[in-house]
Symmetry: C2
Subunit: 248 residues, 2 copies
DNA sequence: CCGGGTTAGTGTCATTGCAACAATAAATAT
DNA sequence: ATATTTATTGTTGCAATGACACTAACCCGG
């Protein structure tokens, strides 16, 4: 029942008709304090000319996450970033050519690390503000994008994920801006300060940034902490991070 | 880059070497007030004689969830239950025969619905108490089981999932027992009562169950509510529900 | 019929977390 | 100087929670 059932001798991989497997990677970043997503414009049928989430085939020797990282690097030139598996989309008719099952990943890139590189396989590659992304996207990619956004929102509440979107050094109010952007609601300045200070995940750099008003203290994210008891919670509502099911 | 790149004419599915795709389903239920998981004993190489999580091939025409439900029914005869996608496991060497990618699902069956049916494809099929499950399991199934348990624990905190493990009609203290079992810690009787009563997801049946002491009031789960603002939270700690990443 | 055992269910209260919002601090622009 | 802008800290009241003590309803044995 489990997995394949042949013995070593009788097993023949070509006996079964098999779906194709791709990984698609939803990459978010922050540009001009706004959340952006990376899309590529398709060169060929089907959905020629449509924008799509970058992705590609899983090769036989690499793990799924390796495949996602490889595709990501081929697409953007960025490495060593935050990435996690999102959901696997496998409706029989999501691709008109053949059965294609896509393991979707979800990635965050730092604002100061963008070195976008256009691939030869597509017409164009661009960052879109998530609020102004083209629609519809190719295949079921609208749904994948929506799932990624839900996951992002959900995890912001109880992880330290927001820091992955910021540059090395940042101010508390820049961090607050991210939360507001992604939650789509205003947060109280004072309460935000307190919560962040007390969370113990910020390291003071001693740096100041001059501006129109009082200069801002700049902080660094303490990676050593954070992956522990850390829980933000800004409101009661919970959104599903997975799909049908979860909110988890 | 996204998905396949051939045109209609040049596309040839056999051009690429492809992994095999299976679904594995981790099924939990409650027997004698204890959490159990369904395992099957393998008949053939590899891992002959080892216990494994039930699963099987995805057919070309069916969705992943349909595949999971079909396998589940073939294995247990149970239908119309709670099921959700868990995680996709795809390490290149997780199966010694060939590359096999497994989309794992996570299911809960009601205690009063078990009609276990042994399949012909395996030596045995049995419910194991999760605390006393055989180890190691076949393939990477220990890891899959651990992931499912983490997801279960996590979702109990903010969903109404616990009810899926109970019979139609139950007492509040039975519900409390589930939480205690799965969280592995004692909960306060009084606080539990209040929380459940105020959550607005219980419907009084008027029924009583006689026992040694004072009779218990029996309740029904209000499916109409629940999938809304409903949030239980019994402690601060959060565990990841996915894998590397989540808790979501 | 009375008191102890057992399980079910309610009340009380002090602590904590958090949100609203007011106040102060440190710079720039005119 | 004084207004303006942005940053940071204080105060306060409410609501959720946890610890724990208490009451309720049944059985049973004398």
């Amino acid at each position: 029942m489990t997995d394949l059932e042949e013995t070593a001798e009788t097993y023949d991989p070509s006996r079964y008709e098999r779906p194709s497997i791709t990984v698609d990677v939803v990459i978010f970043t922050l540009i001009d304090r706004e959340l952006h997503v990376l899309l590529v414009r398709r060169k060929r049928w089907p959905y020629e000319g449509y924008w799509a989430i970058p992705g590609g085939f899983v090769q036989m020797h690499e793990s799924l996450e390796d495949a996602a990282r490889r595709e990501l690097e081929e697409e953007t030139g960025v490495r060593d970033i935050y990435i996690e598996q999102l959901y696997t989309f496998g409706d029989p008719d999501r691709d008109p050519r053949t059965r294609v099952i896509s393991v979707a990943y979800f990635a965050l890139v730092r604002a100061d690390r963008q070195r976008l590189r256009v691939s030869e396989e597509s017409l164009d590659v661009r960052w879109f503000p998530v609020r102004a992304a083209p629609s519809p996207l190719a295949f079921d990619h609208d749904r994948i994008l929506a799932t990624a956004l839900a996951r992002l929102r959900s995890k912001l509440e109880y992880t330290t994920l927001a820091f992955e979107l910021l540059p090395e050094v940042f101010s508390i109010l820049e961090l607050k801006h991210i939360y507001e952007q992604i939650f789509g609601e205003k947060l109280d300045k004072g309460n935000f300060y307190r919560k962040m200070r007390d969370a113990g995940v910020l390291e003071e750099t001693g740096l100041l940034r001059e501006g129109r008003g009082r200069p801002t203290r700049l902080y660094r994210f303490r990676r050593d902490r954070g992956d522990g008891q850390f829980v933000f919670r800004w409101r009661e509502a919970r959104v599903d991070t997975g799909e049908s099911q979860e909110r988890g």
